[in-house]
């Protein structure tokens, strides 16, 4: 196990991504709402750079109790990592694919100490 220093906390603005290449692995470090996440930058679909796309809230169809469609809405509590090659979406929280939970981005542990951000590889 290696621990890689990423940056000072304040060096990465909210919403930014840094791509780290270490020991042949590409890892995307994502800052979202002051939290840091780290996933392997490799989409389970065709191998795209999953972390280099946008993060967007999940979309849901709002359907009322009587089964009527009320419109599409964002679920702001469920942000997705979107692969820029084809749009495959993964939950930012745990890296599982939105359509098929058997697909999961490899997750790496992030720690913050003394204002520094580290990723364990």
């Amino acid at each position: 196990m290696k621990e890689v220093y990423i940056c000072r906390q304040e060096e990465m603005a909210d919403g930014n991504v840094r791509i780290l290449r270490v020991d042949g692995l590409e890892i995307g470090v994502i800052r979202h709402k002051s939290r840091f996440y780290a996933y392997r930058n490799l989409c389970l679909h065709q191998g795209g750079p999953a972390c280099e796309g946008v993060r967007m809230p999940g979309v849901f169809d709002d359907v009322d109790e009587e089964g009527r469609f009320l419109g599409q809405k964002y679920d702001e509590d469920d942000v997705h990592i979107v692969c820029p090659w084809h749009g495959y979406e993964y939950h930012l929280s745990d890296g599982t694919n939105v359509c098929d939970p058997r697909l999961r981005l490899q997750k790496f542990e992030v720690s913050e100490r003394g204002g520094n951000v580290y990723v364990s590889v």
Binding site: V54, G87, S120
Partner: protein, 417 residues
């Protein structure tokens, strides 16, 4: 557990906040795939890729002979697109596919033409040596109610493509746009452009309302057959179809529309005996994926056996004719269906009839690895589909990318040592 500390000075970092868009970087993983799989050892031909000719609208306008239409194209461009366009054309997924919004910011040198540079970049990244390029918004031109507009724009686009792009780069090819709403203009298109460098056939956009069996096309089909030039049908969304207009989501319209329009024309093509009337005319069906083919083969065979008087020119079953046609691979349906995919490959004689296509830069593009990594194909079958079949069908000179030639030379030097 030991912990090694690596600081920022020794790690390899990229900060996306400050990085501009670059096709080569966008496709860096594709390059890794190409290197890992040794694509330098064989030719890869991509038979369906695209550029955005609407970004060169002003240039193409200068090739339009009719001054009124030239002015209109200069004023309005080739396409307005956008979410407010009818028929659900929001394929950019709201900015999720980043190459759509970022493409225009990509830096290129002043020469050669921007489209040549961008094509070379993605081709080199993926390991593609030769690419057949098609337009993007012009794929809907067959629906324009003004036939004169289709003819004028088709000739202008074809001239622009030949003179500005194809004759400048031997790795780029095209099946040129045929203005199918004007049969005489189709024949003129073949006669005028059939011998131009880089022209490897002619293309009919499938979203239109002319029957492919109409006698008015006989002279064009014969002209293509005599020249050994394939005809390709490039499918599309077709959301104007009354039934398809019920698709309120792009996903359903794309899934159905792209299959439907080629199903329609292929069925008419076979049942009207076009393959018997023009036996040497090579026929290619483009961008409809593959899953529709087993369905159609079974369906047409079943009905043909009960209604031979509807198709008296046929000397074989419909599926036998289909097996002699050619198909591009993308968008290949491959989620949880390996057995179905293998059966589909078997049913269409994929080893000799299937031609790899990426459809890059569109949202549902396929890399060469979608073919190369299929477990049920032999190495020879992979190479056939990725390039050998296209080389044979289009009589292509094998032009390898400089990157591949460099890698080959390096490999040879290593082997010699």
């Amino acid at each position: 557990m030991s912990i090694d500390m690596i600081d920022a000075a020794t790690a390899d970092f990229r900060d996306l906040a400050t990085e501009g868009f670059d096709t080569g970087r966008h496709l860096a993983h594709a390059t890794e795939q190409a290197d890992a799989r040794g694509y330098e050892d064989f030719l890869i031909v991509d038979i369906d890729s695209h550029h955005y000719e609407n970004e060169a609208s002003a240039e193409i306008a200068e090739f339009i002979e009719n001054p009124i239409i030239r002015h209109e194209v200069k004023y309005q461009g080739i396409s307005r697109k956008g979410i407010t366009t009818g028929f659900g054309q929001y394929q950019e997924l709201g900015g999720r596919i980043t190459r759509y919004p970022l493409r225009k910011s990509e830096k290129v040198p002043p020469h050669p033409h921007r489209d040549i540079t961008l094509m070379r970049r993605w081709m080199d990244a993926m390991g593609v040596d030769v690419a057949c390029m098609f337009p993007t918004p012009l794929l809907n031109l067959g629906l324009a109610p003004r036939v004169d507009l289709e003819v004028e724009l088709a000739f202008a686009y074809n001239r622009w493509l030949c003179e500005t792009i194809l004759q400048e780069e031997p790795r780029l090819k095209s099946m040129l746009y045929m203005p199918f709403n004007d049969p005489d203009a189709c024949l003129k298109t073949v006669e005028q452009f059939g011998d131009k460098p880089g022209v490897i056939g002619f293309m009919v956009t499938s979203t239109r309302y002319r029957g492919v069996y109409d006698n008015v096309y006989a002279r064009t089909y014969r002209a293509l057959e005599e020249r050994g030039l394939p005809i390709g049908f490039h499918t599309g969304l077709g959301g104007q179809e009354p039934g398809l207009s019920l698709c309120n989501r792009f996903l359903t319209l794309h899934a159905l529309g792209f299959a439907w329009h080629n199903m329609l024309h292929l069925s008419n093509w076979v049942i009207n005996g076009i393959p018997e009337r023009f036996p040497k005319l090579k026929t290619l069906w483009i961008e409809a994926g593959l899953a529709w083919l087993p369905f159609l083969m079974q369906r047409l065979d079943n009905e043909y056996m009960m209604r031979p008087s509807d198709a008296p020119l046929l000397k074989q079953k419909p599926s036998d004719y289909i097996r002699q046609m050619y198909f591009t691979s993308q968008p290949m349906e491959m989620v949880d269906n390996k057995r179905a995919l293998e059966l589909t490959f078997d049913m269409i004689n994929a080893e000799t009839q299937l031609l790899y296509s990426s459809d890059y830069p569109h949202w549902d593009m396929d890399l060469p690895s979608t073919i190369y990594d299929l477990p049920f194909l032999s190495e020879q079958a992979k190479r056939n589909i990725l390039g050998g079949n296209a080389q044979r069908v289009f009589n292509l000179e094998p032009v390898f990318s400089e990157r591949k030639l460099r890698r080959r030379a390096e490999k040879a030097m290593r082997a010699a040592v």
